[in-house]
Amino acid sequence: MTKRTAPYLFCAPFILTFAIFMVYPMIDMIYRSFYKLEGIRSYRFVGFDNYHRIATDPHIGNAIWTTLGFTAGIVAVNLVLPLLLALALNNKLTPFRNLFRSAFYIPALTSVVVAGIFFRLFLAGNADTPLNAAMRLFGKEPREWLFDTKMTGIVALVLTSTWRWLGLNILYFLSALQTISRELYDAAHVDGANTLQRFRHVTLPGIRPIILFVTTILTYGGLRMFGESYVLWNGNTPGDIGLTIVLYIYRTAFGQFDMGYASAMSVLFFLLLMVLNFFYIQSMGIGSRREER
């Protein structure tokens, strides 16, 4: 293997998987978006009907709103909170660092099914649930958190996802913080930099790739949110509260067997994500190595 052929061999597993398990299903999806499933195996050609239907579907707007709201929320919360916690956990002065790190990660090990049931009950409307009991302490009326407004729905989603994924994001930041050489800090210290300056000039540049990484996966994870929404609302989202785009597509496909329409929505959703993706790659220069040394 020479230096010229090496990169292609390194990338081969991806190229193969991509061709077999992505390109083919995608073509199938695009093809089906022009058809309508009638019965079990017979598809009828309907032209652009499925795409026209998207324009007038009242649920689409709600699903987009919830998805974007959730994405904004999850990115904001899960960038700041884990970074701060990782800094604390990376600090030698902090006691019981390993214990805390484990404590934050353990929720990520529970399956979304079990976690979803807990939060469904935790956010239930009865006056005696812990959350509503707390509300009462503040003199507020108990609420049906999962069925109140689209906003409380989004908050519920952010809460459940953050509970599960906080520890993982802490891990990401920690693994990056550990790559920053101790000597850089020492040098900065000798130069008389204070904590904040050291954070800005040593830590931040050092963890830049991981910040990008976390932002990216949070954005994509947010946009394709499915699991928590599926479990929290148990397959039924009254008033479209908690209805995300992927959940809507999934339900259209498997709840109503409306494969053509679900495919059309997927195709549009995919195009939308491609645009976003292009923007991401352009603006962040991901992949081009920073010039160093």
């Binding site: 079990i40 239907r53 579907d57 009950l121 039924n236 008033g239 498997f254 109503q256």
Partner: protein
């Protein structure tokens, strides 16, 4: 560096060991294949059945799987020369239907016998190719003693493609303790207006609502609207979800909500933990569901034992009917390699008088076979008769002539309509109050038309 290589080596070793473990484990059943489960489980089936014909059964209800296991035992006792080995799989409801669709589409891996939810049944009945086997030869001879409106749910062009477990007779469950406090008698509540009036007395005497309305589940609304001829589709599958009957039903519910004689159901539906808690603390004086809801009372609200009285639901007027729509059909797939055997087994399990008795005593459902309703089989001591008394089926017998088939399987868009009712209409009209009944129903009708 060495450490990393050691770790990689270790993990590969672990994989190999685990693979080894599993293959040596499955050697007992005659297969040494370590690469996957497929051969393993096939081999298991062959060696284990010893001349028995294997039949697979898929369901989304654990109890149904037990019911069929039991039925297979009975079958094998009666047919020593035609032994069967039933293999049951229980999946979550939505995933089971997805899996059924996918396997039927690919023509591979579908079960012999399968439970299909009534709201999803028409999805499988579209198009020219039939995926289920007609059951006419086993149903028609027994038709006289069966409740036809329920049989007809799964009838397409004169063929029966599924057989139901239960009638799913609409039923009102009254909390007599609350009614007694308000001096209201169950017998006096004949119409929905009677219920509304009684509700005012209950509210005054106890401060409690007489009934709760679901806002994220559709069935109690479906019963109420169905009594006066409302439905989502007509017999031919045309959309009538925005009919006057439906709008009037919603308006009536709104009225009761307004004066507090009704509230929206805690948790949004009758199958939530919140609701069980609410009801078991005497939260409301009544509820409307199908008869099989008895199981929920016995399992989740044991403290109400003896306090709950079942009665026919209130009606709108003398012309009202009781809509019946079953719940779960069992069908035999055309992909089955043992269709004939599967059909005859299904008939013995669910159609025979003995099977019908078990549907009541084991599953707690009202069987379609009404000729046994009056017999002592239905008065046997079980957890339902202990909870509700011995004369449960006398109530159903009194309602029998007014049963009317719902058009629940008339259009493949029923699942969409149902999700719009459960997810949109009831919530927006009754809970959010952001749309009038007419607006919400019209919007749903538009969406259904576009989806056709």
């Amino acid at each position: 560096m060495k450490r990393l290589r050691a770790i990689l080596a270790l993990s590969v070793l672990t994989t190999a060991m685990l693979a080894g473990c599993s293959s040596s484990g499955s050697d007992d059943t005659g297969s040494g294949n370590s690469s996957g489960g497929k051969q393993t489980s096939e081999a298991k089936q062959q060696s284990a059945n010893g001349g028995k014909t294997p039949l697979t059964f898929w369901t989304y209800v654990e109890q149904h799987s037990e019911f069929f296991q039991d039925a297979a035992k009975t079958w094998n006792e009666k047919h020593p020369d035609e032994q069967i080995e039933i293999k049951t799989e229980t999946y979550p409801i939505e995933e089971m239907h997805s899996k059924l669709l996918i396997t039927l589409q690919s023509g591979d891996g579908a079960p012999d016998i399968v439970d299909v939810n009534v709201a999803r049944f028409s999805d499988f009945m579209q198009g020219k190719e039939k995926v289920f086997v007609p059951l006419n030869e086993v149903i028609e001879p027994e038709k006289g003693s069966f409740l036809e409106p329920v049989l007809d749910i799964y009838k397409y062009d004169g063929n029966y493609y599924g057989i139901e477990y239960h009638v799913g007779s609409p039923m009102m469950f009254y909390n007599t303790e609350i009614l007694d406090q308000a001096g209201v008698k169950v017998e006096d509540i004949v119409t929905w207006d009677d219920l509304h009036e009684a509700g005012k007395k209950v509210l005054q005497a106890t401060g409690k609502p007489i009934i709760t309305f679901e806002v994220k589940d559709s069935w109690s609304y479906y019963i109420m609207a169905g009594e006066r001829g409302g439905d989502y589709f007509d017999e031919k599958g045309n959309t009538i979800i925005d009919s006057e009957e439906n709008a009037k039903t919603l308006a009536f519910m709104l009225e009761m909500l307004k004066d507090g004689t009704a509230v929206t159901t805690p948790g949004g539906g009758f199958h939530t933990e919140e609701y069980y808690g609410f009801m078991s603390k005497n939260g409301a004086a009544s509820m409307l569901e199908c008869m099989w809801y008895m199981g929920r009372f016995t399992d989740y609200m044991p403290e109400l034992s003896g306090k709950i009285r079942m009665a026919p639901p209130p009606v709108w007027d003398a012309n009202s009917v009781y809509p019946v729509f079953g719940g779960t059909a069992t069908s035999v797939t055309t992909l089955s390699k043992h269709q004939d055997l599967a059909v005859r087994f299904l008939a013995e399990a669910k159609i025979s008088a003995e099977g019908a008795g078990k549907i009541w005593n084991v599953l707690g459902f009202d069987p379609l076979r009404w000729d046994i309703w009056g017999t002592d089989v239905m008065k046997q001591d079980n957890k339902f008769t202990q909870y509700f008394g011995k004369d449960i089926f006398d109530i159903v017998i009194g309602m029998k002539d007014k049963f009317h088939t719902s058009n629940i399987t008339a259009s493949p868009k029923f699942s969409l309509a149902n999700s719009l009712v459960a997810g949109d209409i009831l919530f927006k009209v009754l809970s959010e109050k952001s749309e009038t009944p007419e607006e919400a129903l019209k919007s749903a009708a538009d969406q259904i038309e576009k989806a056709k």
